[in-house]
């Protein structure tokens, strides 16, 4: 299948500051694609080049088979955009914003059903300035969906939201994908990327480090697994050390931490535990996260 977004070796500099360098990736249709990295890594610059809001210095971009700058009019009808730190008029009402946005497109979805989908039906007469952070972001999603786009761009959508609002937004984004649209999002929250994205591109200092599914990235860069278990069996330690793939066994009284790697490592631990004579009272596996992957591939934490 032809990719929805094709980015090939783009470069963009602001004066002497290089924002992105040699960035390439494809976005497949019907997926949630995440461009992830710390603030200032080049996420927004990359996204705005794809949206046709900026012009890259080098490299080529194709979106839905169109050239983002040359075909900007045709493109705008087929994409929906939510921008980082965008605002609306303070005293615009929710329904007025949707009504105006709908008037900008030859074909628009029914604003009323959109408000209901996004849980804003009871806020339709509220001024923008009176909305909470989560409600504002849901309104921006609604505006991005008003023209029934094939491709939706969401830039740092959940930044500054509380966990509850964030979860609501996650469900909405999954809903967008489930209606067959492609979602291109940026985030610096690794947990968000891991839970939401079908594929992610890790970007750092303007360069793409790796692109794959979160699971594959974790398997590739952080294959180690840990099992935490609690047992009163004193003979267990030697048995644990004998597990295939186990690299270390750390014991604190009756609590053990067994570290190893490989797909079958956790299975080996389970088989070993099944052979113990004494009850195991706790058993947990600890999987590496995208956060660990980021630390591993960039050498620094995402919060630095």
């Amino acid at each position: 299948m032809q990719p929805v977004v094709h980015v090939s070796q783009i470069r963009k500099a602001y004066g002497s500051t290089v924002a992105v360098e040699d960035v390439s990736f494809d976005v497949e249709p019907g997926q949630i694609f995440g461009l992830i990295g710390p603030n200032g890594a080049g996420k927004t610059t990359t996204m705005e080049c794809i949206e046709g809001l900026r012009k890259q210095d080098q490299g080529t971009i194709s979106v839905l088979g169109l050239h983002p700058l040359r075909d900007v009019r045709a493109l705008q009808l087929r994409i929906g955009v939510q921008l980082q730190e965008a605002q609306l008029q303070k005293r615009i009402k929710v329904w007025e914003a949707l009504d105006f946005w709908a008037s900008l497109y030859p074909r628009a979805v029914d604003p009323k059903s959109l408000l209901e989908q996004l849980g804003l039906a009871d806020k339709r007469d509220a001024w923008f300035m009176t909305l909470s952070g989560g409600q504002k972001q849901r309104l921006f999603i609604a505006l991005a969906l008003i023209n029934d786009p094939e491709l939706v761009f969401l830039d740092e959508l959940t930044t500054g939201l509380d966990p509850q609002a964030r979860r609501t937004i996650w469900d909405l984004i999954r809903g967008i994908r489930d209606r067959g649209k492609t979602v291109f999002m940026t985030t610096h929250l690794m947990e968000e990327a891991e839970r939401l994205c079908d594929r992610v591109a890790i970007i750092d200092h303007g360069r793409i480090i790796d692109v794959d599914t979160p699971t594959a990235l974790i398997a590739r860069h952080c294959p180690e697994r840990s099992v935490l278990l609690t047992t009163a069996d004193d003979g267990a330690e030697t048995r644990f050390r004998a597990i295939r793939g186990a690299r270390s066994v750390d014991r604190q009284g009756s609590h053990y931490r067994i570290e190893g790697s490989g797909d079958d490592f956790v299975g080996e631990v389970i088989r070993c535990v099944a052979g113990l004579s004494v009850h195991v009272t706790d058993f947990r596996t600890v999987m590496p996260t995208l956060e660990d992957v980021f630390l591993r591939v960039t050498g620094h934490s995402i919060r630095d």
Binding site: L83, A86, Q89, K90, R91, F100, W101, S103, L104, L143
Partner: protein
């Protein structure tokens, strides 16, 4: 076109929701006309014995023209300010990702400013009916048309300033620094013929000069054909400034 009318109507509603804006646009000017006009008419300004004939000429001819010009300049400043606030707030940036054009956005704001300024002038005329001897007759309507033509042209300067001034903090002072000197040499206070040659040439290169000439001429009852040159000059300024701002419009 649909987007332009929607946005214009929307911006009018949003403006009406700001209590200070409405008070400033409608109530303050009306009060000023009543207070100032009353003071002038009563020979008021305590201790000053007015020269009745000169005062009559000033109130009768220049005051309406000055009122229209100041209203137009205020509209420009308001336009410049609101566009830069929209730019800083990211509202323009968000709109840029839609099919709406820069000219549509600016035009909507210009129409809103014209409507509000006309409302201001209407309130002033109503408040000043007895004081300045204004009546809603053919001449007043003609004057209103001349005021709209002037405003469109003057607002196109605002278009250009709003397009290039980076932040709201700069917008007001930049607007004031450009506009008020233009008004000073527009021939409103001192006739153009009294200027030294270079100043007269400069004045003729600025749109406000033609606005003043047009407004004053129409107000004292001169015919439209006599002022066709003023109208043409104002139209040229409007086209040039609008084209320039479409070219240099900054979305962010």
């Amino acid at each position: 076109m649909r987007a332009l009318w929607k946005l214009t109507w929307l911006e009018l509603k949003i403006f009406a929701r700001e209590p200070l804006g409405l008070i400033g646009a409608l109530i303050v000017p009306a009060v000023m006309v009543v207070v100032l006009g009353g003071a002038l008419r009563g020979g008021g300004l305590r201790g000053v014995e007015p020269d009745a004939a000169r005062l009559g000429a000033f109130v009768g001819v220049n005051l309406p023209v000055l009122g229209a010009m100041v209203a137009a300049l205020n509209a420009v400043l308001a336009l410049v300010t609101i566009v830069s606030i929209y730019r800083e707030g990211g509202i323009l940036k968000r709109l840029r990702a839609t099919p709406v054009s820069a000219v549509t956005i600016l035009s909507a704001h210009v129409i809103v400013r014209i409507v509000m300024t006309m409302a201001t002038l209407a309130v002033m005329v109503m408040a000043g009916r007895r004081i300045v001897g204004m009546h809603l007759d053919a001449r007043t309507l003609s004057f209103a048309v001349a005021a709209v033509i002037s405003m469109v042209s003057i607002l196109s300067i605002g278009f250009l300033i709003a397009s290039v001034v980076p932040t709201a903090r700069f917008a007001q002072p930049v607007g004031a620094v450009i506009l008020y000197p233009m008004l000073a040499i527009s021939g409103l206070f001192v006739p153009l013929t009294a200027y030294p040659g270079w100043l007269a040439v400069l004045a003729r290169a600025l749109p406000l000069t033609y606005s003043v000439s047009l407004l004053r001429g129409i107000w004292i009852g001169e015919s439209w054909p006599a002022h066709i040159g003023d109208v043409a000059a104002l139209a040229v300024f409007a086209v040039v400034f609008t084209a320039a701002s479409a070219r240099w419009f900054r979305w962010q």
